[in-house]
């Protein structure tokens, strides 16, 4: 699978962006902000090139393997954060979010490479769409998880009247809540699409819906849909933040344990 030189260069740039994000959180300097965004953007370009090389080596989409999908997840997370930065100059999330980008991109190169031959399951535009939407959903839920952590931190600062640096730099609760709502909505739509495509393909390929992954994806949908519903019915605030963290736990479980041990179609073998 090659040495992933471009991928490691991307990881280094993400790390640089993380250092700059921490510096900027302590003492905001426009130059450090812009430098961080540039590191992230160049990192994304190199990361994309690395995914492209993987695709050529595999002769298919790069996320047919576990490593490829983890790597794409990191890429999507980074691009979503960059978009948020460009649109809202929101930098307080960086120090908390970029480490997840770094870890997933690095894991995408460190995990043992196991390439199964291309089969009917892993071919075609629908397969590509299914995986892309699923990973987009995971990225959005990860975003929501980080935002919920920020919400709980900021809520604690406000209640304890700690008006220091973190208080000053983190966004207002209402702003974090709004961003969280957007992330969860994007995640829900993406996951619903991924699930619909997945169910249709499962019917067509195996004629059954017995894959536990479907059950877990459905459970994830229910948790996040419930979150949005409760958010409008008096749960806005810490309760929604805690529920989002719980939802992320479900996502993680589904992506790791369910993929590896329960689902035959999602174990990348």
């Amino acid at each position: 699978m090659g040495s992933h030189l471009l991928g490691w260069a991307a990881v280094s740039l993400y790390l640089a962006a993380e250092v700059l994000a921490i510096v900027s959180l302590r003492r905001p300097k426009p130059a450090a902000d812009v430098a961080g965004a540039v590191c992230l953007a160049v990192g994304l370009a190199l990361h994309f090139a690395d995914l492209e090389l993987r695709a050529r080596a595999l002769g298919s989409v790069p996320y047919r393997t576990l490593e490829g999908s983890v790597s794409l997840f990191g890429w999507m997370l980074a691009i979503a954060y960059l978009a948020l930065w460009i649109r809202h100059r929101e930098r307080a999330m960086g120090p908390f979010l970029i480490p997840i980008v770094v870890v997933s991109t690095a894991l995408g190169m460190l995990l043992p490479s196991r390439v199964a031959p291309v089969s009917a399951q892993t071919r075609g535009a629908l397969f590509a769409l299914h995986v892309t939407f699923a990973i987009l959903a995971y990225a959005a839920f990860t975003f929501s998880f980080v935002l919920s952590l920020l919400y709980l931190i900021q809520n604690r600062q406000i209640r304890r009247k700690q008006t220091g640096i973190l208080f000053a730099r983190l966004p207002a609760l209402e702003v974090i809540g709004r961003m969280n709502r957007t992330s969860v909505s994007i995640g829900l739509v993406s996951l619903a699409l991924a699930l619909a495509i997945g169910v249709a393909r499962a019917q067509r390929l195996w004629g059954s819906l017995g894959d536990p992954k479907i059950t877990w994806a459905f459970l994830t949908l229910v948790v996040y849909a419930l979150l949005l519903w409760l958010d409008r019915r008096g749960w806005e605030g810490t309760r929604v933040a805690v529920l989002s963290i719980f939802g992320f736990g479900v996502v993680l479980f589904s992506y790791t344990v369910v993929n590896m041990y329960f689902s035959t179609a999602h174990n990348f073998r």
Binding site: T163, L173, R233, G234, G237
Partner: protein, 423 residues
């Protein structure tokens, strides 16, 4: 002794601020923008100064001036006394005077918020900027003051970004408004209710209005008082018995009444929260005894604070700001020396010219005493000697890079060779 008291560009500050002048004097010498323009024009027009900038805020009136050649602080005092119809002695008793580096240092400290009542406050930086703008429009800030004010603003900005001197709010109302802003984000879309129209209510309403809250309501048992407040501060009056019904519309509620019993009850807030579908509410109790029932704080998504809590935060924050002073002073000195270095360069050339002139005068005096036939040869000899003897000291003076040393040496040369004496 002033470090940069060279006759070509003398910097002077004449001021009245809260440390030396009581409020009665400060009120008499305060300037509005038109008066600043007028005073600046007159100062220049009468040839009292070469450049001038006036910084005038509620706590200070400070006149920064550059003199070319002779110029005295007393003339300035007399001018302002005459302008304001005061006795010069009264005015000079409550004024302070600083020259050269001390005058520049004062401005840098002012811009950094180190001379303010609320340490590190940011408003003064805008006022310093505004002072420079007015002087520029009036054509009275030129090379030196323009540079000095720009450097002072840069120092002020650095202090606020590189230290935590301006991070924590230091008054109860500003702490409350910052906490509310961190709950709601943009306060310009939020509704604030002030209960009680006494002194505290008035103060808070003013600050909330300055902070740009969306809608401001005031409610008082005595309707006339509420109406009086509404005339002073842009806000609307809500009848006292209508207030509980309006509670669901309130994002922030501030209690400042003198009621013996709480006026905001848990049951009312619970009802309001139901109507608000759980959207957060913010309560601030500045009244003694309390206006807001303590149990209100237990309701989900309600943020509730009392006077004591916030006073303690204010004390802590003031202490926290004080701890930043040494760091801030170091930044001020660093930026000040950069400016003085530039100023020193301005002073090297005139000093060297004076030095040469003084040499030539003495050479000619000596030559007068010599036989006429030998004078030409002796002049050549003297010039060669001058070149040899003074080449190195002049070179060293020019090439000194540390501003402090350079200024000290310039000062020493002027003193040793009596360059400041006119005879």
């Amino acid at each position: 002794m002033s470090l940069i008291a060279v006759p070509e560009t003398r910097l002077m500050l004449l001021g009245w601020n809260l440390r030396v002048a009581d409020v009665a004097v400060r009120e008499r010498v305060a300037f509005n923008a038109d008066e600043v323009r007028d005073a600046l024009k007159q100062l220049i027009g009468r040839g009292l100064v070469a450049e001038s900038v006036i910084v005038s805020t509620c706590h200070r009136s400070e006149i920064y001036s550059v003199f070319e050649g002779e110029g005295r602080g007393e003339d300035l005092t007399r001018f302002f006394a005459e302008w304001r119809g005061l006795a010069p002695s009264d005015l000079s008793r409550s004024s302070f005077l600083a020259e050269g580096a001390d005058a520049a240092r004062h401005l840098f400290r002012v811009a950094a918020g180190l001379d303010s009542m609320a340490l590190g406050e940011s408003e003064v930086l805008g006022q310093v900027r505004q002072a420079l703008k007015l002087a520029r429009e009036s054509g009275t800030s030129r090379t030196v003051l323009h540079r000095m004010f720009e450097c002072a603003v840069a120092a002020g900005k650095r202090v606020r970004t590189e230290t935590e001197i301006a991070v924590r709010p230091v008054s109860v109302a500003s702490i409350a408004l910052e906490l509310a802003a961190k709950v709601f984000g943009d306060l310009s879309e939020k509704t604030v209710f002030v209960l009680g129209a006494g002194e505290t209510g008035d103060l808070f309403a003013r600050q909330a209005s300055e902070a740009g809250v969306g809608r401001l309501f005031v409610s008082s048992r005595t309707r006339e008082r509420a109406e009086g407040l509404a005339r002073r501060v842009a806000c609307e009056v809500v009848a006292w018995d209508e207030f509980p019904g309006r509670l669901p519309a309130a994002d922030v509620v501030v209690g400042t009444t003198s009621s013996r019993e709480p006026v905001v009850l848990r049951a009312d807030v619970e009802e309001a929260m139901r109507e608000r579908r759980g959207r957060p509410m913010f309560f601030l109790d500045l009244a003694v005894p309390r206006d807001i029932e303590p149990a209100v704080a237990e309701i989900y998504n309600v943020f509730s604070y009392q006077l004591n809590d916030l006073e303690e935060v204010a004390r802590e924050n003031r202490a926290q700001r004080s701890r930043q002073v040494p760091h801030a002073e170091a930044i001020v000195e660093e930026e000040l020396w950069k400016f003085l270095g530039w100023m020193g360069n301005l002073s090297v050339v005139p000093t060297l010219n004076d030095w040469r002139r003084r040499w030539n005068e003495q050479r000619d005096t000596e030559l007068e005493r010599q036989p006429a036939a030998e004078r030409e040869r002796l002049r050549e000899f003297a010039d060669a000697l001058y070149g040899r003897l003074l080449h190195e000291p002049m070179r060293r003076l020019k090439s000194e890079t540390e501003p402090g040393k350079k200024l000290e040496r310039l000062e020493a040369v002027r003193h040793l060779f009596k360059l400041d004496d006119d005879e």
